[in-house]
Amino acid sequence: MLDEKQSFLAALILYSLASLAYIVLFISKNMKYSNYGRWLVRTGLVFHTLALTMRTVQTSYLPLTSQYEFASGFAWGISLFFVSYEWKYKIRTLGVFVTPLILIITFYAALQSSELKPLMPALQSKWLFVHVSTAVFSYGAFAMACAVSFMYLIRDKLKAESFLSIHMPELCTLDSISYKAITFGFFMLTIVIVTGAIWAERAWGRYWQWDPKETWSFITWVIYAIYLHVRLKRGWKNKRAAWYAIIGFLCILFTYIGVNTILSGYHSYGLLYMPIFQLYRIIS
């Protein structure tokens, strides 16, 4: 029987092999590698779920409180969305664009300390667990929207008779999938922010303090809110929407990794402020 660390490692190896399979598919133009890739991700997801379950049993709480745990949860969320979208929409080339994301986030998790630490009092809140677990689904959905939007842009550039084009859905289908993923991610992100505010009020006495993490969550929310408005009311679709979805996900990544490592605040692990006007000095 594998333990938590071994299960996580197995998931990491399977995700790596899946990425490799999709790269081979890309190079060899042989669709049988898509089947390998799909099954490798599915098996990886099983091991990943096993690792998270074992950690939950060990800690007696949802393992989403440290950098390692959240990164692992984030990668799990993307894998889950990949498996379900791939199954629902039958996009056999989806893995070419999604597995690198899964792999990068899983590697990022692997680089963090996985040491089990007792939960500090401020983190003992049911609101925190709703807050962070919804973030896993929100971020997972936005990652999927980003990957599908990237697919859109590639498909848009490729000739109609090219290998990838043939095996990619129509542009309007990709656009629609990206939109659906964003609506789900946005709904979840709203719950993330609302539950985070409730938790902050109970723990620190203010539901909104403009802490960098809060602020960047708000910025991300506004970015996607603008996306939804211009799409639904002004008919912004296709290429522009695809670029917007990618920029939105870059903001998600900054909210998650950039804020923790560069900016300081209640959520952060770093203590440095970005020297904004150093750039000015360099220029001048």
């Binding site: 401020a122 709904f187 505010a197 620190w204 203010r206 506004v222 639904l232 006007f277």
Partner: protein, 375 residues
């Protein structure tokens, strides 16, 4: 014609374009607020930035962006934009509901309200947040068990009845809990309760948050063996006798003291072998820095000091933020609105409606007004 022109100009106030512009401006300032250090002294900005940028930061209030006038104006304008937009849309939504409101289509029809609820929710959050910020009260409070502390700018006091730290088997801290009595100015009991991390005590709009702890000890001062004063001293603070020009700082308490060639440290967080690190100041100059055990007499010339009875003190925050209920309702409306917009789609009457629920209707209406071909 003139009145129509004015009307058209006013229409911009409820337009989505303005809403998006305001959201973008708020977003830009928010980004700036996370990059630019906030709440520092003016000298900090003058030292670290070129002159005109530093002046710009200070004039525009970018040293405290989130409480600056510009930020408040932008948020208020956004609230007005949403209020006008929502008011203008309510009529068309209700008309539509009236036309097709039957039990069979109830959920579908209700979904037309989704976007309206969403905007109403956001508006409520903004308005109640501004109200909460304007009426915000916060006060820090600390003390050891048995101390009665008055809370500034209020007519009540707090009696710290007990402070307890719960440890797990592995020695880590699982919870901090303070038992409190709220007293009026005549020491009459108004409320009894306890506050722990993530579970504040609430009383008449005030919330008592358990935010921290530290070490305290009794400090007795003597001159030529005659007692001068005795008081509870908190870690990092000083007993300061201005008449005698002498002060002693309880720099640090090591609860489980140990020392090696790398310095002084504590083996654990428990009071196993307490030792105080202190500094004595005379006429503003440091004259001695050393360590002492509880009860040990620290002599310097005719003065002597004794630190005793080391114990944990509790650190609380007393807050009052009005409008929290309104903001919470706003949050609920946003989530409810999103649920309706995205997951309870109406049965579509025509192709245009497929774009979305009420947004599509608005778009068609706008396009008609602008004389565009909606088909």
């Amino acid at each position: 014609m003139k009145s129509k022109g004015v009307f058209n100009k006013l229409r911009i106030l409820k337009s989505m374009k303005l809403g998006i512009f305001l959201l973008s401006a708020i977003m830009f300032l928010s980004v700036l607020g996370t990059i630019l250090p906030q709440g520092r002294e003016p000298a900090f900005y003058l030292k670290d930035n070129p002159g005109f940028i530093a002046r710009l930061i200070l004039i525009l209030g970018f040293d405290h962006i989130y409480t600056s006038r510009i930020f408040a104006v932008l948020f208020s304008a956004l609230a007005v934009n949403m209020l006008l937009c929502n008011t203008a849309r309510l009529g068309s939504i209700l008309n539509r509901l009236r036309k097709r409101f039957d039990m069979e289509h109830m959920m579908e029809n209700v979904s037309y309200l989704g976007s309206w609820f969403l905007h109403l929710g956001f508006m409520l959050v903004v308005l109640f947040y501004i109200y909460g910020q304007a009426s915000y009260y916060s006060q820090e409070l600390y003390g050891v068990t048995g101390e009665i502390r008055s809370v500034e700018n209020t007519d009540f006091k707090v009696n710290i009845k007990d402070f307890k730290i719960n440890y797990r088997e592995d020695g880590s801290i699982s919870q901090y809990t303070t038992k409190l009595d709220v007293l009026d100015s005549n020491d009459k009991l108004l409320m009894k309760g306890s506050s722990s991390v993530n579970s504040p005590m609430r009383w008449k709009g005030y919330s008592f948050y358990q935010t921290g702890t530290g070490w305290a000890a009794e400090c007795k001062a003597y001159k030529d063996d005659s007692p001068l004063e005795a008081e509870v001293l908190y870690e990092g603070l000083a007993y300061d006798n201005r008449q005698e020009n002498i002060a002693i700082v309880m720099t640090k308490l090591y609860p489980d003291f140990a020392a090696d060639d790398k310095g002084l440290y504590s083996l654990s967080d428990r009071l196993e072998n307490p030792v105080f690190l202190y500094s004595i100041y005379y006429r503003g100059d440091i004259v001695r820095m050393s360590i002492a055990k509880p009860g040990e007499s620290i002599k310097w010339n005719e003065y002597s000091f004794v630190f005793d009875n080391p114990q944990r003190y509790t650190f609380l925050k007393v807050n009052r933020m009005k409008g929290q209920f309104g903001a919470a309702m706003g949050g609920m409306f946003i989530v409810f609105g999103l649920l309706l917009v995205f997951y309870f789609k109406p049965a579509y009457d025509n192709e245009h409606d497929k774009l979305s629920s009420i947004w599509a209707l608005e778009r068609i209406k706008d396009e008609k007004e602008e004389g565009m071909d909606v088909r």
